[in-house]
Amino acid sequence: MNYMPGTASLIQDIDRRACWLLPGCGEQPGAAASRPSSGFPVAGEKHLVLLRDGRTLIGYLRSIDQFANLVLHQTVERIHVGKKYGDIPRGIFVVRGENVVLLGEIDLEKESDTPLQQVSIEEILEEQRVEQQAKQESEKLKVQALKERGLSVPRADTLDEY
């Protein structure tokens, strides 16, 4: 299967069903088979975006440009802690391209069989808070230990920490 360069490869995903009906769309005949053939209407294809600050967004990709600026529709922010995850509905997202780390299409069939367990929002936020706390404490201990030995860890880049 051949792919297009850059963000153009995702252009086809945007209105997958609708898109390839129109002339000039880059859909390969082969790819048509890979789509869910269940027959019930699927509104476009869901995409998963990983942002630079570590957030994971899942939504329907509506628009993309050459900088990978995205417009996500019915976006859900998914927080993962351990084996659990929780979804926070966010609505419409417009993401500036420079903050996108990676972006990919979600295979709807595979989406359902994950070993992960979905929990409520409050629970996952609580879990996340606990995890952050634990991390911070261990970090503090580490810095302390290093300081005792006369070493120091350089300050991490504030932009890309997660």
Binding site: P5, A8, R17, G26, P41, A43
Partner: protein, 776 residues
């Protein structure tokens, strides 16, 4: 004929007579000559004007209905008489002023403009007119479009526009539609004019070079968006841009899309645009229709443009084909003939009616979907003939799904193609090997590997995902800076294509006596650096010859070989320090080069290309100066890169050479003199990784030679024996801690040493040098 630099120049009060005389030529106009619109009418009675206009309106409308819309009275009035136009223009100018001075009409055209095919005026459809100025203004505009040829700002000019014939029909429709009550969505009043091109975008091309008329009023307040005869309707009846994208052979694809235009509009913006934004700028959707660069003519253009490569293009890239076809095509012709393609194409393929009048009552959204579905049906017919036959089968099932997803197609096909086009354009290159060297190499390697795999294992061919790259070669466009016709002097526009010179740097050459010692030293180093760079480029060329050889024709090959040889020679000369008529007295030049890290690497790369003597020469020079080089290399530690090529050279060296090489390493003069208690040269060599490794290599080679020939010169050569004694002595003497760790210890050293030292010493050497493999 009647040319006005600015409205102030318009002879308002003078030349009434002129108007009079002109007016007599045309009876219709005569009615409105001086009495109502002429300069004589001091009384600004717009209501009266309105009524007269209304009368006039009926007349042409009736006439047109009779004549089936191709030629109307108005057209008669307008088209064939250029002189009339002149007077009408002048009148219009005046009447504009009188009617509403606030509204400046950029009336700039000459009468000749009409007859000038390349130029298409912008039309002002009533529909797109702002609803603010309803009434007389609008009604006057009925005639207005016919008379006025307004030239908008440069940016909007880019869009090819239709000409007169469409004009007529369009006006007819204008009139008929204006009879209907104006529909709904008035634009956001007071909002800034929506620009098709973002503010600050430099115009894509020179403002139409054939655009002879002066710009009377560069302020484009009232730009009437051009309307083709097909889509003059106000918002409700017009096809939404979403529908436009579904238009087969959409002109959008083929249009020379100015990169500056941002096609991504929100729905609100689109509504504004279509709803008759007051500025009435052409939205991309409109100009796209207007330009009329439709697909089928493009198909005919394409073979010419794309030189037959297009056929190989996969259907997915068909959109891009159109893109790539379009920019080169109109581009050269664009200068002289902007709507040339447009008009020509119009003749070829009359655009099918995209919207049906009987759907006007539907909600725009509904109509949009309806047309989409129609479009799909059309596509179905088309694509069944097309390449992907299985598309049709899915179509019906997906149509329903389409309906259920109201957010689909937020991004127009045109926009998608635009983004894809940008990405593809970045990959275009005239010489991929030059522009994208690493990618090409990487993929060649991959393919070799996969080909090799295929040969061995005959499993199913693994489909490697390949990047779709544009098949069209990039055409180099010479950048032409923006020029305005008729302006005195040139614009000082600095853009990314023609950057302005910011700093005036002057190169001053220093005089000789000014230089101090340090400067001389510095210059010398610079000289060396320059030499290295020159030699490096020669080296890269030489390395590339193999590829060129494969690509070249038979006849060219000898020439290539010759070139290559020459380059190699000059490389050697550069490295060694070209001395004319001298016996290469000094290694100085070479040593200088070798002191620089890049120089060492370069020498390592050059060695394979040199002849044996040349390579040996270099080897000698290196050995001779090894301690110095070692000292200099202490920081870089790059000498090791030379080991491999050196060993390759060594392999070819005869024994005499090897001996002298060893001599160089040991730094013993030719004639054996009393050996110094400590051979500093050799000691230094031994203490360095590279030096020791090199020594080992030399020794190993010697051993090979010795063992291979029963009676060799080596054995008979006293020198070699002497040297061996020296070497072993030194090796024994040097403390183990000082000994460097060689890259590799050749296995035949033991046998070598056994010839020259007794058993005891041999054992010592053995342990010291770890000659036996098991120890390590």
């Amino acid at each position: 004929m009647f040319r006005y630099q600015s409205l102030e120049d318009c002879p308002l009060d003078e030349d009434e007579d002129a108007f009079q005389t002109l007016g007599e030529e045309d009876e219709d106009i005569d009615q409105f000559n001086d009495d109502t619109f002429g300069a004589g009418a001091v009384d600004d009675d717009w209501q009266e004007a309105h009524e007269r206009l209304a009368e006039l309106e009926d007349k042409p409308a009736a006439a047109r209905e009779l004549e089936d819309g191709t030629v109307s009275d108005e057209m008669d009035l307008l088209g064939h008489h250029e002189e009339n136009l002149a007077e009408r223009l002048s009148k219009l100018v005046i009447e504009n002023e009188l009617e509403d001075p606030a509204i400046m009409q950029a009336v700039q055209t000459q009468p000749s403009m009409l007859g000038d095919p390349p130029y298409s005026p912008l039309q002002q459809p009533g529909g797109l007119n702002s609803s603010i100025w309803d009434g007389s203004e609008v009604l006057r505009r009925i005639r207005g479009p016919l008379l006025t040829q307004e030239v908008p700002s440069v940016s909007v000019l880019e869009y090819a526009l239709p000409q007169k014939p469409p004009q007529a029909q369009e006006d007819e429709r204008d009139l008929s539609e204006r009879a209907l009550p104006r529909r709904s969505s008035s634009p956001v009043i007071g909002s800034p004019p929506v620009r098709a091109v973002p503010i600050g975008t430099p115009p894509k091309q020179a403002a139409m070079p054939n655009f002879n008329q002066q710009i009377l009023c560069p302020k484009p307040v009232h730009i009437r968006a051009p309307m083709q005869q097909r889509y003059p309707a106000p918002y409700g009846e017009r096809m939404s841009p979403n529908q436009l994208c579904s238009v087969p052979n959409s002109s959008l694809l083929g249009h020379p899309f100015p990169p500056s235009v941002t096609p991504v509009f929100t729905h609100l913006q689109r509504a504004q645009l279509l709803g008759g934004a007051q500025a009435g700028r052409m939205s991309p959707s409109q100009f796209a229709r207007v330009s009329g660069l439709v697909g089928s003519p493009l198909a005919s253009m394409n073979p010419k443009l794309l030189q037959g490569r297009v056929g190989q293009m996969v259907p997915p890239a068909s959109g891009f084909r159109a893109f790539f076809g379009a920019p080169p095509a109109p581009h050269p012709s664009q200068q002289q003939h902007p709507p040339g393609p447009g008009s020509h194409l119009q003749n070829i393929r009359p655009h099918p009616q995209m919207f049906r009048p009987d759907t006007t009552h539907l909600h725009p959204q509904h109509r949009r979907l309806l047309h989409q579905r129609q479009q799909q049906n059309r596509n179905q017919h088309r694509s069944l003939n097309g390449s992907a036959g299985d598309r049709g089968s899915h179509r019906s099932s997906h149509q329903e799904q389409l309906r259920k997803d109201p957010y689909a197609n937020l991004m127009l096909q045109r926009e998608k193609d635009w983004v894809s086009k940008i990405q593809m354009m970045q990959l275009q290159s005239t010489d991929p090997y030059l522009d994208d060297f690493y990618y090409q190499n990487y993929f060649q390697k991959l393919e070799k590997v996969s080909a090799a795999d295929e040969l061995h294992g005959d499993g199913p061919k693994k489909e490697r995902t390949k990047l779709i790259t544009p098949q069209v070669a990039k055409l180099e466009h010479a950048y032409k800076p923006v020029q305005f016709e008729g302006s005195l002097g040139k614009l000082t526009v600095s853009s990314v294509n023609n950057p302005r010179k910011m700093i005036d740097a002057v190169v001053t050459s220093r005089s000789e006596d000014d230089e101090t010692k340090e400067k001389q030293v510095r210059d010398k180093r610079r000289q060396t650096l320059v030499t290295i760079e020159k030699t490096y480029s020669l080296l890269l060329d030489v390395e590339d010859y193999e590829r060129r050889y494969l690509l070249s024709l038979e006849g060219e090959r000898p020439a290539l070989m010759e070139e290559r040889k020459q380059k190699i020679c000059s490389m050697y000369d550069n490295v060694r320090g070209k001395t004319l008529g001298q016996e290469r007295p000094s290694d100085d030049h070479f040593v200088q080069i070798m002191c620089i890290r890049k120089g060492k690497r370069m020498v390592a790369r050059i060695l394979p290309f040199l002849s044996t003597e040349q390579a040996a020469d270099i080897l000698m020079a290196t050995a001779r100066n090894l301690p110095f080089l070692i000292k200099k290399d202490a920081q870089d530690e790059v000498l090791l890169c030379l080991l491999r090529p050196f060993s390759l050279v060594l392999y070819h060296l005869p024994s005499g050479m090897v001996t002298s090489l060893l001599q160089q390493l040991a730094n013993l003069p030719q004639s054996a003199t009393a050996p110094a208690p400590a051979n500093l040269h050799l000691a230094a060599v031994l203490q360095n990784k590279f030096g020791l490794s090199l020594l080992y290599l030399v020794l190993s080679r010697g051993e090979e030679l010795q063992s291979s020939h029963a009676a060799t010169e080596l054995m008979q050569d006293n020198q070699w024996t002497e040297l061996m004694f020296t070497a072993t002595r030194e090796l024994l003497r040097i403390p183990q801690a000082a000994l460097a760790k060689p890259v590799s210890t050749p296995s035949n050293l033991l046998s070598l040493f056994s010839r020259y030292v007794d058993q005891q010493k041999l054992n010592v050497l053995e342990t010291k040098l770890q000659l036996v493999q098991g120890i390590r």
